[in-house]
Symmetry: C2
Subunit: 400 residues, 2 copies
């Protein structure tokens, strides 16, 4: 089947032809994509309220236009990753109803009853079960797709299947390279520019540490990772958590996913210093955020170890001392990746609304400098912290 | 074309049909394979003395028989690796004249005017240009197939192309796992068995270090490595060096190749303590061996750095401090891999004739214990040595 771009008129025929809806169903179709890359439609049957999401990749970067072409293969990686994740953690990812790799589309569960975690955090909403859910998602997906569990031959075939070159390249450039110099792709608050030029871009030691992590990203094939696990890839409510959009999935360093979640929560934590909100509320929410990080990371480690004890099939899992060495590396790398992610969201191409919602550019700049300074402190001390509490205590002591 | 096993009668028709020899050539065909896995024929034209080697993979492990099946895909990996290596270091690998992946065969340059390095070392032959050649081979193949030089997308595609699962699995088991416990696959000198049971297999710290290196082998996709670079994969003379048999090639930790060469030279070094040879000759040859290791490793580092300065296209190569960090890791890993290789050749499945040539099992055992002890010392101190001279000095001080 030849690729064509889905329009609302074509969608109705398509979803009926593949049996998602019956021929005489009355459908309401709405385009809701606000991401950078894809078309996203919600398709609802008027009588029954049954609804699904149809996501289609465009052969170019949507925010930029046809001048930045991008292969539609990414849908295949997303669907392949969702299939694996839904075998491992079925309750934490959207259900797939249909995929068509030629058309680069996936029809999946409609999760619009949930909120995007990033916006919910901007609204100071709490998600009491988030730490429990995300720790399960990460402990299970990262363990069961690693050499600790998988047969080495199956693991290598999975790695080859996820040769996701184009989207990896985006991460390599936008996260690990461009923020460390005056790259064209950067998106810089003009008030921040002097700080970058006079201070940040002169930090050679920090750049070296980011480079070490970039090389891990380039070469360490540990687990099938989501690859883009920021708070805009998570739907939440008080009860539910769903992790979606794994189009950046590939077999890479496990701690990249773990660190990205922490980095995004810390961005939200700092963002409050630039907003006019009653201090008591801020204190309460911030304390919730740090507790979430502690609970999340500790539970992740506990669950990962439980998986290891229960299902560690590889001989390396039986070797005295290897588990603590492994989890120690995981911790150091998690802090490193968290730091790189905080930095790229300040002045790289893609920002977080948590901070860009601060209209006053001077105030925004102050918040951005705080993020850069905290990120540096975490990166440069990542071999000194003994546990996640020491990291969150460091954050708590800041007087922003 | 369907796979069939080459017999001498079929070879003549085949090599003529693909134009390697003319139709009326008078050929002499001889099977010379002494490896564990393949058929190897030398085909010579009587009138002209023109000769070639035909290597064909069998669909099972030759030394064991059809009960241990092995995919003939390995010839494809070997030919693919040879093609890449011959673009990078054309003078150091055999020329390929013809490949047929369906028949799992390669027709290549006949190198029988050279000697197998392992046997030459057993005969105390010196190879004054070996250090120069092997350092070039490694500095060039490991640099130009890494993320330091290659575009990250091309590198990832190369990695996927070399998904050499079966042969990697052999290394994972036979080098990194089985020698550390009483595995069935081990091939144990009965006089050594008590030492293994009472001493060696109780070394938990050593086993932990070997496990860390195994995980690197499983997950670190740094460069296209030869994968089996022992002294039986190298042809030598006083003038020439040719590296062949890269059927274990895949994208893995660069230091694995570098360390394997050192480990094999050290095995030969120690083996003399169990042989009756005039001490003066032994001293002279041993001093040559340690000089070779020093020259080889130092030249390797120098040439790798020259490549880096000249052709380091990736942005990571421009980062202040990254080169010394990279070469530091290379050194630690090289020592670790050298150690694992020494150990596996003592009581793993495959041995070196350097040591197994010692007929007296008690004497052989003494040599084997010396190898195991030196390997352990190198492994456990690999973060303490400052340079390769400190390692070879340690060896020199031994009073074997």
């Amino acid at each position: 089947m030849k690729y064509y771009e889905m329009k609302e008129t074509k969608i109705e025929a398509y979803v009926k032809s593949v049996g998602i809806f019956s021929k005489d169903a009355q459908l309401a179709i709405k385009e809701v994509g606000d991401g950078n890359l894809n078309l996203v439609f919600i398709i609802k049957e008027k009588d029954t309220d049954k609804s699904v999401v149809l996501k289609q990749a465009l052969p170019y970067v949507r925010v930029v236009g046809e001048s930045w072409p991008l292969s539609i293969d990414r849908t295949k990686f997303e669907a392949n990753a969702l299939e694996i994740q839904s075998r491992i953690v079925p309750s934490l990812v959207p259900k797939i109803y249909h995929r068509n790799d030629d058309l680069a589309l996936i029809i999946m569960e409609d999760l619009s009853h949930l909120g995007l975690m990033r916006y919910e955090m901007i609204d100071m909403k709490k998600h009491p079960r988030f730490a429990e859910h995300i720790s399960t998602f990460l402990a299970d997906t990262l363990f069961y797709t690693s050499d600790l569990y998988m047969d080495s031959e199956e693991k290598k075939k999975m790695t080859a299947r996820f040769t996701n070159t184009e989207l990896c390249k985006i991460t390599e450039d936008l996260i690990f390279t461009d923020p460390y110099y005056d790259a064209e792709s950067n998106n810089i608050n003009p008030k921040l520019k002097p700080y970058l030029e006079e201070v940040f871009w002169k930090k050679e030691e920090l750049r070296l540490e980011a480079t070490k992590l970039k090389y891990k990203f380039l070469t360490e094939a540990q687990s099938l990772i989501h690859g883009d696990l920021h708070t805009g890839s998570i739907f939440t409510s008080e009860e539910e958590t769903k992790i979606f959009d794994p189009e950046f999935a590939f077999v890479g360093p496990s701690a990249f996913d773990v660190g990205k979640v922490i980095g995004n929560i810390l961005i939200n934590y700092i963002s409050w210093s630039g907003k006019e909100v009653i201090q008591e509320k801020v204190d309460d929410y911030r304390s919730y955020l740090l507790n979430t990080i502690n609970d999340y990371y500790n539970s992740f480690v506990e669950k990962f170890k439980v998986n290891w004890e229960k299902d560690g099939r590889a001989t390396i899992t039986k070797i005295e001392g290897y588990q603590s060495y492994y989890m120690e590396n995981m911790f150091r790398d998690t802090l490193g990746f968290a730091s790189t992610v905080m930095i790229r969201r300040v002045h790289g191409l893609a920002h977080n609304k948590d901070v860009d919602g601060i209209e006053d550019l001077e105030k925004r700049k102050e918040v951005q400098v705080q993020i850069l300074e905290l990120a540096e402190e975490i990166m440069m001390n990542r071999y000194k912290f003994n546990n996640i509490h020491e990291v969150t205590n460091l954050v708590k002591e800041k007087t922003w």
